[in-house]
């Protein structure tokens, strides 16, 4: 059995690494070794905190532990954060039971309590874990920054600490990934536009370019940021509305319907096609949000997807027509 020690100080490399992970660079390969880590100078009475072996998760935990003497039990979640690992079944009772045995946790500490991250709860059955290991499970707070307070209060979390929020900043930090996610599709669409331009009578111009880019931003950045303030509940609807506002703005700014820099048919094409695109992008944000239920998402999709396909299809036909007349 081997114990590694770690610090509460993040180094420059850790910070660069987390920045890269946010933008999706080498994100899947950001792990720490599973095992027992000591922070400060823990002894047999010190608390045991369990976490995932995704490096960002591990880092965000240890940097909140300044001045504490604790053990961290890192389990093997294949480098995935606690929440997703719990959903995928890599943060589960089996893995924790196995790791407790393998590391000889019962020898390292004399008490029989482990603190699990609350977000790991969907993957774990606390009473089964206790039955199999003798360790009682207390779920810690949702956010690592509350850990100190939680420990100081005798391992009690307030209702506040138990709640997953999805505040402005939480949503903002997700937007780079959303944007990166839509870039691939956008590049493909630009390629098609470019090819069509070679044979078109009235080719696409700068207006078309920023109309499209703006739509992608409306779905992947604006909708997530403004989420709670956009009326309605379904994500696709919210994204559609933001896209629609953008397209109408573009069209009006270009003098439509009176003296349009592009024709009426192209205007109609955009009104049909572009909001469907932002609606689709926004609907995918359900995966990043922290409050959508699968039953709800399914209901939303069954309603919204056919509409998107019809609307986008009709819009594309209108756009193609506008190229050649």
């Amino acid at each position: 059995m081997q114990i590694n020690s770690t610090t509460t100080q993040l180094r420059f490399n850790d910070i660069i690494g987390s920045w890269k992970a946010r933008w999706g660079i080498n994100r899947m390969n950001y792990k720490v070794d599973p095992g027992v880590y000591s922070v400060g100078a823990p002894d047999k009475e010190s608390p045991v905190l369990v976490t995932a072996n995704y490096k960002l998760t591990f880092d965000s935990l240890r940097k909140e532990l300044k001045g504490l003497d604790v053990w961290i039990l890192v389990i093997d979640t294949k480098g995935i954060n606690v929440w997703c690992a719990a959903g995928k079944g890599t943060f589960d009772t089996e893995e924790i039971v196995g790791r407790i045995g393998k590391m000889g946790l019962a020898e390292i500490v004399s008490h029989r309590i482990i603190v699990l991250p609350q977000l790991g709860a969907p993957g774990v059955s606390a009473h089964e874990l206790t039955k199999r290991t003798g360790f009682r499970v207390i779920y810690g707070p949702v956010r690592a920054k509350d850990i100190k307070e939680f420990l100081r209060a005798g391992m009690k979390a307030t209702t506040e600490m138990r709640e997953v929020r999805f505040g402005f900043v939480d949503r903002l930090v997700l937007t780079p990934m959303e944007l990166v996610g839509s870039i691939k599709t956008s590049v493909a669409i630009f390629a098609v536009m470019f090819l069509l331009n070679l044979i078109a009578a009235k080719p696409f111009g700068v207006v078309d370019l920023y109309a499209f880019v703006g739509t992608v931003i409306a779905g992947s950045v604006i909708t997530p940021i403004l989420l709670p303030w956009i009326p309605g509940r379904a994500f696709a609807w919210k994204g559609w509305l933001m896209g629609m506002i953008w397209v109408v703005t573009v069209i009006i700014l270009n003098g439509w319907p009176i003296s349009a820099t592009f024709g009426t048919i192209r205007g109609i094409g955009y009104l049909l096609a572009l909001p469907a695109v932002s609606a689709f992008i926004a609907m995918n944000f359900t995966g990043s949000s922290t409050y959508t239920s699968p039953t709800g998402v399914l209901k939303e999709m069954k309603f919204a997807l056919p509409l998107m396909v019809i609307s986008a299809g009709a819009g594309i036909i209108a756009l193609l027509i506008s190229l050649f007349i």
């Binding site: 960002l56 979390a157 138990r162 359900t286 990043s288 039953t295």
Partner: protein
């Protein structure tokens, strides 16, 4: 600000006859869907439930049931295309973000 998703869709059920009021469900739920009232669990706001399954897995008396899954459109589409169960291809950075 509390977010609420679609109205009255979730599969969450509480069987009060089995409940002992132990409080584990209030400890694990990330959206404070439960409270303990008069020694028993009570669902105070169904629409906040995201069907994560934490309550059902951790209730020692099997008083809560829910059909858990990932509330993620991309995962559901992928599930349709590949004919498998939706599972998230996770991106989350810190522990508060999801798939």
């Amino acid at each position: 600000m509390t977010h609420r998703y679609l109205k009255n869709v979730v599969s969450l059920e509480l069987d009060k006859d089995k409940c002992t009021g132990c409080g584990k469900c209030t400890e694990v739920c990330p959206h404070n869907v439960f409270i303990i009232e008069n020694g028993l669990a009570e669902i105070i706001d169904r629409d906040r439930c995201m069907e994560c399954g934490a309550c059902a897995n951790n209730c020692p008396f099997e008083a809560v049931t829910v059909e858990p899954g990932v509330g993620c459109a991309a995962a559901i589409i992928k599930g349709w295309l590949t004919g498998s169960e939706p599972s998230c291809d996770c991106s989350g950075g810190d522990s508060s973000s999801c798939c």
